[in-house]
Symmetry: C2
């Protein structure tokens, strides 16, 4: 006899786990399947909650959904901390955007004007003002802008708290890989497991079969969502991995924190960020590389990240290089997330969050739970439904391999 649930969530990163938690809290019976290889992008992220410094010209729709996400994050994190009793390390000091030379500064000021037009707080700083806020910045800094509304969160603490909250709310975790979404007569009916999970990780009372039956399937498998059989081909093709390399630095014993703000610097056109953690870590990131599924740490990337960080904050050289990390972000053709129905009844997609998965996890969970419970999601999501990648309102039969 197969395992059954109201909802099966495919993927245990922050997106899938947030969905699982909120769906269970809404009264649904949820199973979450993840192979738990520990290689998800959620564990590699820097945790910047920064719609402002990420906002790009011409991406107004993305800015709006990011602003929705920033507005939601505080209450979501507070509820998460309340439920679990864990601190997730939200820092509210803001982000200092730093320009190394006059060319970098001119680009920063153009971007600042755009952000102000979107109603965001931004305070221009000359070189001296920059160093009054962050004493270890190089005197060579040309100038900067303080974005007081940009927060950050400790991504690993946040992911761990989400998992604890989901488990407490009754989400059952299955450690396995989903090989296929099962579709029958144009309707998702569950998932097939690869059965690679360890013995004993199946839900208590579950059957021996490799299938989980569910009324709804939510695919939140990050860049691996595209590898999932049963998902319509145009959606599978819309998700690609974008490699990011990132460093975790630590302070040596006895050294006071070298920064208190997130620093985003442009060093002669190259971007680097440094994100301080409450526990003394400093995250330095990140590359953006189109290298398929490659997850190697390269000498050149580590060099360039350290070089750029040391250019703006020379004291970085004294920090301990504690960890080199690689993550694969789920990228999409228009850089926007893919959240909503897939044209197959009961099959929802929540991926493509690219560089903003941590930030968008609360509002993505809200949107998916709205779909699952028959409510309308927030209007900001309208431009980001899977439908934009589907050729036409396809009849379910034509996209379902389960249909006969």
């Amino acid at each position: 006899m197969a395992e059954t649930a109201d909802v099966v969530v495919v993927g245990g990163g922050v997106i899938g786990t947030a969905i699982g938690w909120r769906a269970a809290t809404a009264g649904l019976d949820v199973v979450l399947v993840d192979p738990a290889r520990g290689d998800g992008a959620s564990l590699v992220a820097a945790g910047m909650l920064a719609p402002v410094s990420e906002a790009l010209f011409g991406e107004g729709a993305l800015l709006r959904v990011n602003l929705l996400a920033v507005g939601r994050f505080g209450s979501f994190a507070a509820e998460l901390e309340g439920v679990t009793g864990q601190q997730v390390g939200v820092r509210r000091e803001g982000t200092m955007a730093i320009a190394y030379d006059p060319g970098d500064y001119a680009a920063l000021i153009r971007l600042t004007a755009f952000r102000r037009a979107a109603g965001l707080d931004a305070q221009e700083l000359d070189s001296r003002a920059c160093r009054q806020l962050e004493g270890f910045l190089t005197p060579d800094v040309h100038g900067g802008v303080l974005f007081a509304g940009d927060w950050s969160v400790d991504n690993r603490r946040y992911a761990a708290a989400l998992r604890e909250a989901a488990a407490a709310a009754g989400v059952r975790f299955v450690r396995d890989q989903v090989s296929q979404v099962l579709v029958h007569h144009g309707r998702a009916t569950g998932v097939r497991l690869a059965d690679s999970g360890e013995a004993g990780t199946r839900p208590a009372g579950g059957g021996a079969g490799p299938d989980i039956s569910a009324g709804a399937v939510v695919v939140a498998a990050g860049c691996w969502s595209g590898a999932l059989a049963g998902l319509p081909d145009p959606l599978r093709a819309a998700v690609r991995p974008v490699k990011g390399q990132l460093l975790r630095l630590r302070h040596p014993a006895g050294m006071a924190p070298v920064i208190s703000h997130t620093i985003r610097a442009t060093v002669r056109g190259a971007d680097v960020y440094l994100v301080p953690r409450a526990d003394g870590e400093v995250i330095v990131g990140a590359t953006q590389e189109e290298r398929g599924p490659d997850r190697t740490v390269t000498a050149g990337a580590v060099h360039d990240l350290l070089h750029d960080a040391m250019s703006v904050l020379p004291v970085t050289s004294e920090l301990i290089l504690a960890e080199t990390c690689v993550g694969l972000r789920p990228g999409t053709p228009d850089n926007g997330p893919i959240v909503g129905g897939t044209g197959i009844d009961g099959l929802l997609l929540a991926t493509g969050h690219y560089r903003n998965g941590i930030l968008m996890s609360p509002v993505t969970a809200d949107a998916i739970v709205a779909y699952l419970t028959g409510q309308p999601p927030a209007a900001e999501w309208e431009p980001f439904t899977p439908g934009r990648f589907l050729p036409a309102p396809a009849p379910a039969e034509s996209t379902s391999e389960g249909a006969r």
Copy 2:
């Protein structure tokens, strides 16, 4: 009843293990004690067998013992490979010393003349000749010198083979830390264990007591030799840790080896080396830092090593950063090793090998086994006995805490 042996060797790096192997082969009953924390300098070394490129003006005695060591290494490694059936990765392509700018080149040519005067082979190369031998070198290289006699060995394979050979020859390994050398009436009588070893790692048939009795004690504990109670204080003070940070790079799948020679480069006065391994690794090293027992990997050191390596071999940026390593070399006031008797009967010292521990391990083992069996060691060792750090031919009573 205490464990007993002819010889107890303190330290399981390449020096101690080579001594153990050769002593057992000479018919002695040997116990080797090491806590096996895996943090020894032997496992971090680059494995360069290079008296030539290490030779410094004014260190003629050190050059002579290094030349003795180079002459011995080949037959020692061949015997080791024969006994164990393992390949230890000796590479005989030679070392290319590279000068980045005219100032670096002038310094290299002065050193080359000195080496030639010592009878060593050296062939000057212009920039084009350098790139004919190593096609990935930057065209900015000013010139270089090929030292055909410089070999290298895979330090980790070498250490593993030594251990296997020692065990096969009957050396008994005890996984524990020695807290003290026992001295009675001016004569070493054994060692006291900290008893931190795991159950079951004592030699079969050994007693429960924390002491090992032996006719001779050989201290080969690298930079930790100075921490050993029972050793005369002036000798303890003569050994200090010199921190070295080093990187292990790997080729991505499908990439042909980027170098075949060891490359030693001087980049505007800063030294960096790249040592290729048969299995596709490239070792990049190394810092020399007076930081006491600190073993942290620092952002600045990793940056500088990568920067200097990429300056001479830009393709380094494409390699995988597989491992960042830190080792503590045993340094001495005159940069020479300390090998021989300590003024306490039956207590021998073999440490202070600084940057040449791998290279000197065979001849150090030969010298210590000569002492143990009543033979004279090679004359090249005469300047490197412990006596040079002792104030006078001290009576045993005055330096032995066991004497009453």
